[in-house]
Subunit: 309 residues, 2 copies
């Protein structure tokens, strides 16, 4: 019965390369799985093919977050949406994206004389400040203002506090009926048929602490987000360049691996995941070493891997 | 010295699936190689990744032909063009496509605040009749009017008659200087220093007959093209459905494998290549058998294969 205590917070890396896709690292795309609710972040070209490779369920996703309108972060979106249509989707898809995506989709549809059979809701973002943009039972999602060549947001997924975990052996011991379980998980005591009160503390234990995940790509080093991201369990931060190519990082408004490490340190992250490496690098050890020199708990993203928070 | 008689006319299949990409068959894309000049036909999502897999040279292509503006035939185009830009391309790219592509590209560029460093010329097609749209030293390209849900062209590549092949042993025998070779290949006789005339027929042999290739996707069976395509060496014709699903073919304005065979027979093609199979079929034998029952010289396209004409 350990399933009662089981919780899932996974980051599936579909693509973690930069603008120039390679056979090793495709353009940006991630799926976040929070206890079987799935959310997509960015959707570079080829994202749907990666989903097929990883046997991800196409229709499971109901919300997509697009960081910015550089092609390597959204060129796979029209194809993915078209596939959902062809597969018969009926449920709504919600997309959060910078202003402009609606026009892009409309122009495609105008010239292909096509439509989506499912309701598509696009929420266009324009604010330069962090906002709570999405909420459901499991999670709050905030924008993370990034500093890039065009308007760009990262996303902070903050899991909500879960209900208390009821102890299975106590259900059996006190023959607790199903109908009472929900309230006990919310914190209620339980009254036995003979009137005796069993304290909630005897019946339950704390749920695991809620977790948080931040996606920061593409951006220059941006210490303004220190408070917003403080204590995040995992920070995905772009590390397009090495320090030796810092001039390119400055010019293109990207970060170096060292800066990614500095950001993780600054926000007291538990874990740093670096990605969005420039196609100029074919060996990634130097990038990882550079980030680790500042923040030891660093891993490198790879297409197809799953990171458990 | 057999290189003198060598000629190349290759069709590289980058993707030959239909709208729903699968791991076996990606969306439409082909590269035609005529004696080392390369042309792209259609550019579905993932085309550039397939080019990487096949080690095709990204910058070699100077002309792209887009059949129609359904996403599975052009969603990879923006990504491919962006990659060319990032790789430093300076030479012109020419694209022939239905009216609308220009607006699509402009909207993308507006919202990404980006541009291509190379000159991009888009020639938008609107005519319902076959036209000669492109010509260079090696080939003429004509549109092939197709019958689909939206305006759609196939493309007929007709190689030009090549110069005569000069016989290497005669160059040696008569010590023919390099400067004379071009004229001899055009049909001139050669005059020896002593005034003796060597007839062209002794010095050369006929070049191989020019070849032709037609790409017809997406379309219903369209006998109106019988004259235009008569005698084509290879016909690529879509075969989205089996006859048992003919109602879907009619409704979606696609062809069955049998109709592809009928078209090849009607135009006296030398070879039929069928593709654009619906993702509903996981075994392709039935499609091939159906086309072969009408036109025996049929092969099925597969992603990654090269067909020599």
């Amino acid at each position: 019965m350990t399933v009662f205590f089981w919780m899932k917070f996974q980051v599936h890396i579909l693509g973690c390369g930069s603008a120039l896709p390679t056979l090793l690292r495709n353009q940006s795309g991630q799926i976040i799985n929070i206890n079987e609710s799935e959310y997509m972040i960015d959707c570079g070209e080829g994202t749907q093919l990666m989903m097929r490779k990883l046997k991800k369920r196409f229709q499971k996703i109901a919300t997509i977050f697009i960081s910015h309108l550089h092609g390597d972060h959204y060129y796979g979106l029209m194809g993915y949406l078209s596939t959902l249509h062809l597969l018969g989707r009926e449920k709504e898809m919600k997309i959060f994206a910078p202003k402009g995506l609606k026009e892009i989709i409309e122009v495609h549809q105008k010239h292909s004389n096509s439509y989506f059979r499912f309701p598509l809701t696009i929420i266009e973002l324009e604010s330069p400040r962090s906002e709570l943009i999405y909420e459901d039972k499991k999670v709050n999602v905030y924008t993370v203002p990034l500093k890039h060549k065009i308007y760009c947001n990262g996303f902070l997924f903050k899991e909500k506090q879960r209900d208390r975990n009821i102890l299975p052996e106590k259900i059996k011991e006190y023959s607790i009926p199903l109908i009472e379980i929900k309230n006990i998980k919310k914190g209620d005591d339980f009254k036995l048929p003979n009137g005796q009160i069993i304290k909630n503390s005897e019946l339950t234990k704390d749920a695991p602490s809620p977790k948080s995940y931040a996606y920061c790509s593409d951006t220059s080093f941006n210490p303004d987000n220190a408070n917003l991201l403080n204590g995040v369990n995992a920070l995905y931060h772009e590390a397009t360049f090495l320090e030796k190519d810092k001039d390119r990082a400055v010019y293109t408004k990207h970060s170096t691996a060292k800066e990614a490490g500095q950001m993780a340190k600054l926000v007291n992250a538990e874990k740093l995941i670096i990605g969005h490496f420039s196609a100029r690098y074919t060996e990634f050890d130097a990038l990882i070493d550079e980030a680790k020199s500042v923040f030891p708990s660093t891993i490198a993203a790879e297409d197809g891997i799953t990171i458990e928070l």
